[in-house]
Amino acid sequence: MAEVLVLTEHADGDVKKVTFELLTLARSLGEPAAVAVGDVSDDVVAALAAGGADTVYVASGTEYSEHVVAPTVTALQAALEASNAAGVLVASSADGKEIAGRLAVRTGAGVITDAVGVSDGFVAQQSVFGGSTLVHSKVTRGTPIIAVRPNSVPPEKNAGDGKRIELTVSLSDADRATKVTERVAQERAGRPELTEASIVVSGGRGVGSPEGFAVVEALADSLGAAVGASRAATDAGWYPHQFQVGQTGKTVSPQLYMANGISGAIQHRAGMQTSKTIVAVNKDPEAPIFDLVDFGVVGDLHTVLPQLTQEVKRRKG
């Protein structure tokens, strides 16, 4: 059976959940093989093996984090040449999509992004136009490259052999052209990453002020969730833009999405409509968000959210 390459997302020795999801998906399409670049410890390789990788192609070096995107493309290309891979899966993150795009150009292969599923023959399922239309797409030229959204498949622990193979990668001057001179981490208060989180709790216009987000954050923390915001809230300066969910912001596809004080304009729906379960709290019973929800509460979020937070804490014991 042909290998299916999965680009590993890892940081500080931890492999991200989305990589395990992609390995699970790869198992249904062929023989899962991970590609890991940068500082690849034995722990990373062991985690990938436990997650299902039969082979782990490793490109070690500091240059992968010192430069942007291009060196990783070169490493993936080397892994493609070293394997008999039938396809490449990457996470549909900002970096993942750029890596997929450049690899497609370099190898003369088609690319599909934002897939929410991949079936036999690398047929990708996408949800487009704010989730109103389901599309099946296929790469028609070259080895297919597909970027898959986090939370698209539940990860299964189905251990693979985890055979480590070092890649020989020669980076070009062009790969090194863009240099990272500083990394600035902004406080996330220990919350999961927005695009990866299983639960996202968002606030919108109804939150009313920057201080109002405290009730949204408290609920998120009780559920172990990430915090998101609608464009109305980020435009008003109540919450940082990097947490904006929707068109021109982040696209999330969590198990549970909670929209609080968000009307549910198409602009917002485009970023969250593939969420598995959707609930909303909104004062306006006519808000379009209620057309999407599995459960909705017509009420004031400033009353409902603190009560819900208490209730979640009580039930979690």
């Binding site: 599309v135 028609t140 240099k179 902004q186 639960i199 999407l292 599995d294 459960f295 909705g296 509460v297």
Partner: protein
Amino acid sequence: MKIVVCVKQVPDSWAEKKLDPADNTLDRDAADAVVNELDEFAIEEALQIQERLGGADKCTITVLSVGPEKAIESVRKGLQMGADDGVHVIDDALHGSDAPATSAVLAAAIDKLEPDIVLMGSESTDARMSVVPAMVAERTGRPQLTFAGKVDIDGDTVRVQRMTDYGYDVVEAPLPALVSVIEKINEPRYPSFKGIMAAKKKPVETLSLADLGVDVATVGLGGSWSAVEDFAARPPRSAGTIVTDEGDGAAKLADFLSTQKFI
């Protein structure tokens, strides 16, 4: 200094978008067309760079668009905001081009124009792939400085804040380079009456694929490397349960979350 800003004509974000069942491509007649919102931030950033460098004598701005006849409106919008001239790549063969094909046409135009800086929006609001800037960088051999929330030109170096999931990276590269911007990097200006009048006299060059040396077989539906097999309207979500809070809204919501095993 020469800046080229790439702009795309897209269906209005607020309109219902549809695919055309005849060839599974976007039905561009079904919705009003506007300039891609994020591209307005790219135009504004170009204008601010031009102002910082000392005006049009020191730095020129060309607006570039690839697309059907109507795409000229997006070029005009850039000229009304203050860009100096425009280039419109138009060819019947382009219809149905995917991202690799579109990036090849943009790259050919950029190689012809030879700007110091290429500015783009980081995504289009119709396809939302966010890959074309990286692909154009790959094809033109320019360093990519994408998802920029701040741009500084320092002599022959361009430095940006690249927005990340955890905050931002400061990245830099020598010119010539390609930069894509996120929204909120600036506040795009509205064209003034004077700007609208002046735009009518600004030159717009029309180029075909042959002018750019792009083989028509490599673009359009036939030259694309991926294809839509089929599509369908998403089945409507089954109607959810809506309750009105009468002091027990939170408890009912908690019950729902418990039955769904989120608590």
